[in-house]
């Protein structure tokens, strides 16, 4: 058990170090000054209050997207549709944000709930298809991304109204913006969403480990047949897992719609938040604390990476580093799988104990 936990922490940390090392090699191979590059990266994350604020701002949607992927993963499902769920959540949040005149105490929660429900509805489609018709959720959820991308653009144009490629700004009563946080960080776009995101991580933990529902969801994730044999409805749990995952994803959209941008633009291509969520969940080992930390790391890399350009290093280098971190994490798990397979008897006992926890 101890070894298990040790691995769980060691592999991500080792992967980050190796990923950054590969990044350094790529920089040197490309003829850039790696030392200067990393200094800029560091400065771009921690150097100024502004960059700290922007890093935290970018963390909030990543936490939600990471939680969304991780939640489905706990039930053995791969939700690649987070990107699409983010878009519909974003749209509904903004729509509620601009169309109603309500006091903040009602308006803001309403916009957040709307975003969550929109994401849930969008995620329910691949969930139901999987549960009822056994259509593979990876295929359907990817395709739902494209439907979301073009449908949201069309709805924005047709019904919500677009001037200058974007909607109106959401009413102040639905906005997550915080003058205090913004001024504290020298006019960054940091907003209250970060608190909502951390709260969501706690809710994630509570649902999965403190409720019967969570117990069932995890049981289905461990072993579908055993769960069914034990009298749990696998179908119901698959749909539920997708729906809850979609709520997290929809809220990631609300972070952008009510926080970062306060509006929605016509999106020519995907925002990337949903796809980064997959990386966040993987690095965070589908654990709420892990997801929060991984989201912080990736947000920092993304924001800090912009600064690396000042010494001529292309920001794409960050994508290379992130990609390598993911490769190392994934291969780390593969190595663990091999180790597990060779340590037989003890391990069998451990797995069954794990499942019954």
């Amino acid at each position: 058990m101890k070894l298990e936990r040790f691995y769980g922490i060691l592999i991500p940390i080792l992967s980050i170090i190796l990923g950054i090392a590969v990044g350094a090699i790529v920089m040197i191979a490309g003829g850039y000054d790696a030392g200067e590059g990393f200094y800029q990266l560091y400065y771009g994350i921690f150097g100024e209050p502004y960059s700290i604020g922007e890093t935290l701002r970018a963390t909030a949607p990543l936490i939600f997207a990471g939680l969304a992927v991780a939640f489905a993963f706990r039930t053995g499902l791969f939700n690649i549709g987070v990107e699409g769920q983010v878009l519909v959540g974003w749209m509904v949040a903004v729509w509620i944000g601009i169309s109603f005149d309500l006091p903040t105490a009602i308006h803001l929660p309403l916009a957040l709930i709307g975003a969550g429900l929109a994401g849930a509805l969008w995620a329910a489609v691949p969930g139901v298809l999987k549960a009822v018709f056994h259509v593979h959720e990876v295929i359907t959820s990817i395709m739902m991304n494209y439907i979301a991308l073009y449908l949201t653009n069309d709805i924005l144009r047709r019904y919500i109204g677009i001037t200058n490629e974007r909607t109106e700004t959401v009413k102040e009563s639905a906005s997550l913006a915080s003058t205090f946080l913004s001024e504290l960080t020298d006019f960054s776009r940091l907003h209250n969403g970060i608190f909502v995101a951390v709260l969501a991580a706690a809710v994630f933990w509570f649902i999965l480990w403190k409720t019967t529902l969570g117990y069932e969801l995890r049981a289905v994730g461990f072993n579908k047949s055993a769960a069914e044999y034990a009298g749990m409805s696998v179908k119901r749990n698959i749909v539920l897992s997708f729906v809850i995952s979609g709520v997290f994803a929809g809220l990631a959209g609300a972070m952008e719609g009510l926080g970062t941008f306060q509006n929605m633009t016509l999106n020519a291509s995907f925002t990337g938040v949903g796809f980064d969520g997959i990386a966040v969940a993987l690095l965070g080992a589908n654990n709420p604390i892990g997801v929060v930390l991984a989201a912080l790391l990736f947000a920092g890399l993304n924001i800090g990476g912009l600064s690396m350009q000042q010494v001529g290093i292309p920001p794409e280098l960050i994508k290379i580093i992130i990609a390598f971190i993911i490769i190392f994490v994934a291969s780390g798990y593969a190595i663990r799988l091999v180790i597990d397979r060779f340590t037989t008897k003890k391990d069998m006992a451990k797995t069954s104990k794990g499942a019954g926890k």
Partner: protein, 336 residues
């Protein structure tokens, strides 16, 4: 590399200090004058808009004798979320004039320009209000009108196509001008119009172009940024198989993209480079007022078509005539 920079820096510092000692305050200020641009997701090698703007800054640098990294520089954006940190970073870093390349920068320029009152900002392709913001727009419809004429005269099937990046004002101007130009030659010409909903998806451009060429269009005009590169790919493949198809490029001279098969009939050039260099030069000379909208049309040399070797003399003459009429105001090209 680092050392060189340090030496240069100290040399610069000494010279400015020297100048300051001479009491030449005005000179001192412009010695360290720097302009910078933030590229959108396409990047400065998008063979289109951002590249044109960057070429403009380089031309400005050459003219003023300043070096990249000191007198002018750029920052790239991976996503729209990056626009504001990039703009802010440049303003914080002491840039005197910051360009946002592309209309999607409008909200971000508005926000950042209100936070950095001492910095001048400029936005290309959109209008943002603010006393320290200069808006640069073009009369794309005038250039596209000439493209429409060239397409209508070149086509053998009386069927041409238009592929736009997204449905928005700027692209609408391209579309409206192109159709007006084509109909001015042949009122019965068929013009297919399609939008890729993306400025950076060559694969989508290729798929749409394949559809249009397949249905019989033989000249396609694109206003789709990086997506357009796929249209060139499709046209070149068809040319290799013996089909007589053409592409009309956009923003800058795209002859190169059509090589070696030679599918680029001409290009509607939007002289983003000229406008950017013009505004940067004005700023350095202290003539930039801010709070203005500068509209670069055919008259201002802001839009034109490339007088390519692919065009017959007949077409070229027609274009010349039309250009004179547009400049004189005899022809007024619709914007929508």
């Amino acid at each position: 590399m680092m050392k060189n920079k340090m030496v240069l820096f100290s040399a610069l510092a000494v010279s400015t200090a020297g100048l300051a000692a001479c009491g030449d305050g005005g000179e001192k200020k412009n010695e360290g004058f720097s302009v910078a641009m933030v590229a959108d997701k396409g990047g400065i090698d998008d063979k289109s808009f951002n590249q044109s703007a960057w070429e403009g800054l380089k031309a400005y640098g050459e003219k003023e004798g300043v070096k990249e990294g000191e007198g002018y520089s750029y920052l790239q954006s991976k996503a729209q979320q990056d626009y504001q940190p990039n703009l802010s970073r440049l303003a914080r870093g002491g840039a005197d004039l910051v360009f946002g390349i592309g209309n999607t920068f409008n909200e971000d320029i508005k926000t950042v320009s209100s936070q950095f009152k001492d910095t001048q900002f400029a936005i290309v392709d959109n209008v943002v209000e603010g006393e320290n913001v200069t808006s640069i727009t073009f009369k794309e419809n005038e250039g596209a009108y000439l493209a429409g004429i060239a397409a209508a005269m070149q086509t053998k099937s009386d069927h041409v196509g238009f592929i736009g990046g997204m449905q928005m004002d700027v692209i609408e101007r391209f579309r409206a001008g192109f159709i007006a130009g084509a109909k001015s030659i042949n009122p019965d010409i068929q013009v297919d119009v399609q939008f890729a909903e993306d400025f950076a998806a060559p694969e989508k451009g290729q798929a749409i172009a394949a559809g249009m060429y397949g249905k019989g269009a033989d000249v396609i005009f694109h206003a789709a940024g990086g997506t357009g590169n796929g249209i060139f790919t499709e046209a070149k493949n068809r040319k290799k198989n013996g089909e007589d198809v053409y592409v009309i490029g956009v923003d800058r001279d795209q002859t190169e993209e059509g090589m070696p098969e030679g599918v680029t009939l001409t290009s509607v050039v939007k002289r983003v480079d000229r406008a950017v260099a013009d505004v940067a030069g004005k700023a350095k000379a202290g003539e930039l007022k801010g709070g203005e909208t500068l509209r670069y049309g055919m008259k201002e040399d802001g839009v034109d078509v490339v007088s390519s070797d692919m065009l017959s003399d007949e077409i070229r003459n027609e274009l010349k005539k039309a250009k004179e009429d547009v400049i004189s105001g005899k022809i007024s090209v619709p914007e929508r």
